[in-house]
Structure formats: C-alpha cells, structure tokens
C-alpha cells in the first residue's frame, strides 16, 4: 500500500510534462546532431594530427603553400584564409542577430539578417573554391624521387622559390600522350607535364643559381637546402615531374597533405554549402511570414545553431591546417 501512496509524487516526476533539459524537441535534436558531427570532424582532424606526427620532419609548411590572394600577385601567407575566417564569423554574427530579431518578432529585420548571412556563406564557399583551384594548379612545380619524396627548387642568390619554367631547358623531345584508342596502352595516361624530367635536370645542370630543397625540416623549422654539388647528385633520383596537386601526388610535399586538404576543407565546404541551402529555405519561409503566423521563430534558431557550428568547425580547421 505504501507504494501506491508514494506513486502520486512519482507520477509528477515520471508522468510526463517535465522538461529536464529545458529545450524543445527540435532544438535538442539539433544539439545531438551537432555533437555527433563534431565527433566526425574531430576524427578527421585527429587523423590529420596522426599523419602529421608520423611525418613530423617532412610535413609541408602551410605558410609556404597558401600564399595567394585573389587579384594580387606576390607572397601573402595567411591573409586570405584570415579574411575567410572573418567572413564566416561575420556571417555568424548576422545569424545570431536574425535569431535575436526573431525573438522580438520583427520580421523585416529577420529577413535582412538572414539575407546577409546567406551572402556571407556564398562568399566563403566561393573563396574556398578559389583556394582549391589555386592549390590544384600549383605554382612552382617539383620533381618526385623513386621513394615518393618531393624535390623543390630555390634560387640561391635571392633565396626565393624557383618555378620549373624559370630554369628548365627546352629540348627537342617528342612525347605524345598515350591514348586508349591507339592500342598502345590499355587505358589513357594522365596529362603530360609541361616539362619532362630530362628537361628539368638539363636546365638545373646549366643554371648555377638553382639549388634543390628537400622535404626535411631542419632545426630552424625550415626546409633543408642542399648545396650545388648535393643538388646535382640528388636530382638523379628523380623519376617524375609534379605540377600542382591531385589525390595521388602534389608538389608541396607529403602525399597525405593534399589528401587531407581536399578531404577536410571539402567536407567543411560541403557543410557550408548545405548550410546556405537550408538558410535559403528558411529565408523564404520568413519572407512568406510562416513563422510570424506560427508565433515564434524557433526554426531560425535551429538553423542558426547549425550555422554557428559550421563556423566553430572552421575555427578549428583554420588552426590545425593553416596555423599550427
């Protein structure tokens, strides 16, 4: 009998109607999704850390890879990525302002701030596309050795990087891309590089000003520069010219570097893209007055959570890919 007496109070606890987390169903589900997505990104970044610690002495230096700013020539490490970070934080701010305007039921301001958020998102995705294009095109070119190590070139008088076009000899060689329909090969070969290995090595031998730079990082945190004699010796190991980057090899150094770049920034860019799409849907709903009639703007708050999360992830990608 005792239990029936006490069950009255228990019914108040377990009988439903309680909100132990004080959040609506939709918001709670968004938080759970964010937690699981955060773990996915952590997995990517942790595996990046794994590969980097594994090749700690030969990993490419990000400052030397991401040095471009659109419409400007020259060497500007980091500036453009910092700009992208700022754009994303800024669009986070307009998003949270939209949420705030939603709480106060001011439809016109929600429309304005959602619009600005979408614009920010589009600028970011566009910047990332440009960054990918620059990364894939590459700018200096390099040689790859039998062991898969990358050899880059430096002008010894100025210490600047030398592009293959600066010194490679133009020899009278005929080399045609092998196609499947010619029956020589079973499949098409990938596009030929601008210069052959032979042309690069001949050019290097003729130009006393060019030195080879290996992947190995020295005590000063810079890539090791070989002497002229060592350079001439080292290029004999070369088997292939590498220009730009793809999923197999890249001119920046370790092969995994480009793979992680494409994978992590690509996955994040996909999140930004889907965030923009969701924002556009909500934006039109706001214009149509759906949430004004519903009496609350919780949907704006939920997509806001997702959008801030995308910003949050970028803060970590920025640190671990570009800064550290």
């Amino acid at each position: 009998m005792n239990s029936t007496v006490s069950s009255v109070s228990e019914e108040n606890v377990w009988g439903g109607g309680n909100r132990p987390l004080g959040a609506s169903y939709g918001k709670l589900m968004m938080w759970f999704f964010i937690v699981s997505d955060a773990l996915t990104f952590s997995g990517f970044l942790a595996s990046y850390g794994f590969s980097r610690f594994k090749f700690i002495e030969t990993w490419p230096i990000a400052d030397e890879v991401f040095t471009h700013v659109p419409f400007f020539h020259g060497n500007y490490p980091m500036y453009y990525v910092a700009f992208m970070t700022f754009i994303l934080i800024m669009s986070s701010v307009t998003m949270v302002l939209a949420v705030d305007a939603g709480h106060r039921m001011i439809q016109k301001r929600v429309v304005l701030y959602m619009f600005l958020t979408i614009i920010g998102g589009l600028i970011f995705v566009g910047s990332q596309a440009w960054e990918w294009a620059t990364f894939i095109r590459g700018d200096y070119g390099a040689l790859e050795t039998k062991g898969g190590r990358v050899l880059q070139f430096v002008k010894s008088d100025t210490g600047e990087r030398a592009a293959l076009a600066d010194f490679a000899a133009v020899l009278d060689e005929e080399r045609i891309t092998q196609l499947k329909n010619e029956g020589v090969w079973f499949e098409d070969e990938s596009a030929l590089t601008t210069y052959s290995v032979n042309e690069v090595i001949t050019g290097l031998k003729a130009d006393n000003n060019i030195l080879v730079r290996t992947e190995t990082i020295n005590e000063d945190g810079e890539k090791t520069l070989l002497s002229r004699a060592e350079s001439l010796e080292k290029v004999n190991d070369a088997v292939r010219v590498v220009e730009g980057a793809n999923l197999v090899r890249n001119e920046y150094g370790s092969r995994l570097f480009a793979d992680f770049f494409f994978f992590i920034t690509g996955f994040h860019g996909f999140h930004v893209f889907s965030g923009v799409v969701i924002n556009v849907i909500i934006f039109f709903n706001v214009i149509l007055g759906t949430y004004q009639r519903r009496g609350h703007y919780e949907m704006v708050e939920k997509v806001g959570l997702y959008w801030h999360f995308v910003d949050l992830v970028w803060v970590f990608v920025f640190t671990f890919f570009y800064l550290v």
Binding site: G43, A46, F50, I89, D311, F318, L323
Partner: protein, 127 residues
Amino acid sequence: MAHEHKLEIFRGLLKFKSNVTKIWGVLVFLTIVTAVEVGLGITKPEILTKNYFIGMKVLNWIFIVLTLVKAYYITWDFMHMRDEKSSLRRAVVWTPIFLVCYLIAILLFEADYIYNIFKTGYVTWDF
C-alpha cells in the same frame, strides 16, 4: 526557448546593456583573437618557436588555447549555451571533450611510435 539572456561575459567583468550590443562585443573580441593568431602566424617570434612545452612548440600551444577560447565564445554567446540549463550544457559539451581527448591521446602516441620506427628502422624512406 530562452527569451531572457545573460548579458555578462568574462565572468561578469563586462556587462552589456542589450543582447545586440553583447553580440557585437563578442564579435570585436573574436576579431581581436583572430588578428593575434594571424599576426603570430606571420611573424613567428623566435622565443615562441624555439621553446617547447610537452613536445610541442609554445607557439602552437598558444594557437590551440586561443582556438579553444574562440570556440567557447562562439558556443556560449552565438549558440546561446550561456542561457541553457546546466544539464543540457554538460551533456553537449563534456561528451565530445572526453571522447576527443581520448582519441587525440591514443592517435598521437601511436603516430609518435610509428615516427620512431620509420626513423630507426632498417628501411630507408628517402631514395
């Protein structure tokens, strides 16, 4: 839905008059932190790159700490974690922190082990 906002940041050191001014205040703070990060990334002061702390450059530790600071303010003020109940806050924040720390610990130790194998083994990787 949390309609009333907590308007203090830096543990009550800075109190804003409205939610909107708080948002702009947090933006200014995040911008300053990012500018400091980029500035350090470009200048790379020797005192920070030559000194090591638990196997990593002091500069990198600074980057990681500043990133966590930024992450805190994005979550707390932009995602309104500051206004949520502590039960929700703990469920969302501590679960990933615990799992990520564990993941990082095992992966980085393993990576360092493989690095040593590559370095001291009898196989050459640079040819």
